[in-house]
């Protein structure tokens, strides 16, 4: 039975990290209807900034993690301010193309640093012995990852539901012109969306980097890996990202635990999430929690 529960725990851990990594995509889409293809690069940047502060600037990792969140917050805000603000009102596809270009620029910049082509790992700062209860184990890194994910997602949910700025962001997402007519600054909302997305991506980067080690290829790939999570959840739903992330994590782990290696099957953990994504999208084309918009002409 511990076999089953271990897979459940691992699925939830992986799923919640997917949810955190997907959150940045949701935040940007939610406010500007743009899919950010540079998200993986921002995830990687967050991890590398944390490492640089921790190892090179010898700042304790607890502090450097928070500093990296702040730095990435302002970096992402600057990106929006410099590259994307002037595209407000332009076709969405133009903005998406800019994010693809942005990914290449960030790639190039990272390749100019040692992080582009070298591997690093965070110094051990948590106990190496895992927490084991009734034969089910979870590492401290994973546990801290889940706690940070829960805190961040909870904070963002509160922010969007209760705070004035969050409600403004939702209003902009619903109707930019109507929002402007009631005095909401749409450009500021876009900037804030990018900044918060950067912050959440940096948090995801720090956690993933602690789990996999710091390899640029591995880290930036998560920007793409979490796309199915965002689509399944419904693109603009934070709750959707959480539920879809956990569904994806559980599917991957259960497929790995029960299907792979049996009946000639292999790699189902990679494929099955996409198959289930397709099935769910056939039934619910806007994802599990996506808003079904009806336009009346």
């Amino acid at each position: 039975m511990s076999y089953f529960f271990q897979i459940v725990v691992s699925g939830i851990v992986v799923g919640s990290i997917y949810a955190l990594a997907a959150l940045g995509l949701v935040l940007i889409y939610k406010s500007s209807r743009v899919a950010n293809f540079a998200h993986g690069q921002i995830i990687a940047s967050g991890a590398f900034i944390t490492y640089a502060l921790t190892v090179w600037a010898t700042i304790p990792i607890y502090i450097s993690f928070f500093i990296s969140l702040i730095i990435t917050f302002f970096l992402a805000w600057s990106v929006e301010r410099i590259f994307l603000r002037r595209l407000i009102g332009e076709p969405i596809i133009s903005v998406i193309m800019v994010t693809i270009g942005l990914a290449s620029i960030i790639d190039g910049l990272i390749y100019l640093t040692p992080f582009g082509t070298k591997n690093f790992s965070f110094p051990q700062f948590l106990p190496s012995e895992p927490i084991a209860i009734a034969g089910v184990s979870i590492s401290w890194t994973q546990l801290v990852g889940v706690i940070i994910t829960t805190l961040l997602i909870g904070s963002f949910s509160w922010f969007f539901k209760k705070s004035t700025v969050g409600i403004s962001m939702r209003a902009v997402s619903d109707d930019q012109f109507a929002s402007m007519s009631v005095g909401i600054s749409v450009p500021s909302v876009f900037g804030l969306a990018w900044a918060t997305a950067g912050l959440s991506a940096a948090a995801a980067g720090g956690i993933i980097g602690n789990i996999t080690g710091l390899n640029f290829d591995t880290l930036h790939a998560f920007g793409i890996v979490v796309f199915p999570v965002v689509i399944l959840g419904g693109l603009d739903s934070i709750l959707g990202a959480v539920v879809a992330g956990i569904i994806m994590g559980l599917i991957q782990q259960f497929a790995g635990g029960y299907l792979d290696g049996n009946w000639g099957l292999n790699g189902t953990g990679e494929v099955l999430p996409y198959i289930i994504l397709l099935i769910i999208l056939l039934i619910k084309p806007h994802g599990l929690f996506g808003i079904h918009e009806i336009e009346r002409v």
Partner: protein
């Protein structure tokens, strides 16, 4: 007035062109004087300096670059020089092909390639232009139906089979149960069928499962499944990053064998690109007791190879990571082989052409075998032997460093399945 201005502008233009021509000719003259009496042999290298696998490609490129600089600086070829153009292909085969065609236009006599995919894809091109090629890929399929590709060291198949032989020799108890953990590509899949052939030929292991990994954040399910099937050994043929994640998970779950073949635990082993210092950097303490094979010496073991590698890296100002990388040694080694065949052809007084260097590679055997300092055995090639260094050294991570296990060995079963 306007006419005068035009005249002045015209004169200025002519004088600028004249100055440019004079300076250009002077530079050409100086360049030819600088290399007076010497010939220039052109070599091309296309590899992933950026993009996927650049953690291996980058130090590899540095190794190649440094050794050719060393050759020219120390006049190893007398007044002759090697001019090696290194181009980044970002691990994209179409870019590699374009780079290779550019190199051909430049008149290269020797080509250094990188990935398995591009080596397989360009195999026909290499044959067509009859150019000797040393890739960084040790895929056995590279040399099938090709006369011009030479593997620097034993193939991935040979490495995997040798590790399996090591398991058989050191396993206590019943027939060892083995799983393979491979990259989802030709690079990863290459050794699977060869290992299966070796098992059919009598190699005493049972292959329980072949796992093609993805971009996994957690390998718990896979590891538990392998444990439930009684797997004792996992043979890895991939790159370091997925192995590191798996090793960390295994350590967390308490599944890693503390000594080779420990009962009820899993012993992890891997081929060339799974190991090295990068694995320790990524996996940290999780890398402990990982067993790895390659034909290169490593800098955590003292010796002539280590001294040569570190002094070359120091001479050209490389940082510690590059200097201690086995992929740096890999790059140095292919540059050494290319230099050696040029030197031998030169010694014979023959013109340095693609064919002359190809012939020299094929003659590199017996008493003409070549021993670079950074490999654990000599480089031998012939018309039938396309793997350079046949010997492999097994290393294991002990207290955060790769340490030698015994002496270099060769695979017995690879000969049986050839």
């Amino acid at each position: 007035m306007k006419g005068n201005e035009l005249k002045v502008k015209g004169l200025k233009g002519i004088s600028q062109i004249a100055i440019t021509l004079v300076v250009g000719m002077a530079l050409i003259g100086m360049a030819s004087l600088a290399n007076a009496g010497g010939k220039v042999y052109k070599i091309g290298l296309s590899l992933a300096i950026t993009g996927p696998t650049s953690d291996a490609g980058n130090p590899y490129a540095k190794g190649v670059e440094d050794y050719f600089r060393f050759v020219n600086d120390t006049k190893l070829l007398g007044d002759d020089k090697i001019e090696c153009t290194i181009k980044d292909d970002q691990y994209q085969t179409d870019v590699t092909k374009r780079n290779f065609e550019d190199f051909l236009d430049q008149g290269i006599v020797f080509y250094l390639n990188y990935s398995t995919g591009s080596t397989l894809a360009l195999k026909k091109d290499f044959d067509e232009v009859e150019i000797p090629v040393l890739p960084a890929s040790f895929h056995a399929g590279n040399v099938e139906d090709s006369k011009y590709i030479f593997l620097p060291i034993a193939s991935y198949s040979e490495q995997t089979i040798l590790l399996a032989e090591y398991i058989v020799k050191n396993n206590k108890g019943a027939k060892p149960k083995v799983a393979m953990f491979i990259h989802p590509s030709a690079f990863g899949r290459g050794p699977v069928s060869d290992l299966e052939k070796a098992v059919a030929a009598g190699l005493g292991i049972e292959i329980i499962e072949v796992v093609e990994h993805g971009k996994d954040l957690d390998n718990t399910a896979m590891l538990q499944r392998l444990m439930s099937k009684g797997v004792q050994y996992v043979l890895c043929q991939t790159i370091q990053s997925p192995v590191a994640t798996m090793l960390k998970d295994a350590a967390r779950l308490g599944l890693t064998a503390k000594i080779f073949g420990e009962a009820g635990k899993i012993t992890f082993l891997g081929a060339h690109y799974t190991g090295g210092n990068d694995l320790i950097d990524l996996a940290g303490a999780g890398a402990e007791n990982f067993f790895w094979t390659t034909s290169y010496t490593i800098t955590s073991e003292p010796g002539a190879g280590t001294d040569a590698q570190l002094s070359l890296a120091k001479k050209y100002g490389r940082d510690d990571k590059a200097a201690n990388s086995h992929n740096y040694a890999n790059g140095v080694m292919v540059a050494q082989v290319a230099t050696e065949v040029i030197r031998r052809a030169k010694e014979k007084g023959v013109e340095i052409t693609k064919k002359a260097l190809y012939d020299e590679l094929n003659a590199m055997n017996g008493d003409k075998a070549y021993q670079p300092p950074t490999t654990v055995g000599p480089v031998t090639y012939s018309a039938t032997d396309r793997a350079g260094v046949d010997s492999l050294q097994i290393y294991s991570v002990q207290q955060g460093k790769f340490k030698k296990i015994g002496e270099p060995i060769t695979s017995e079963f690879i000969k049986k399945i050839k």
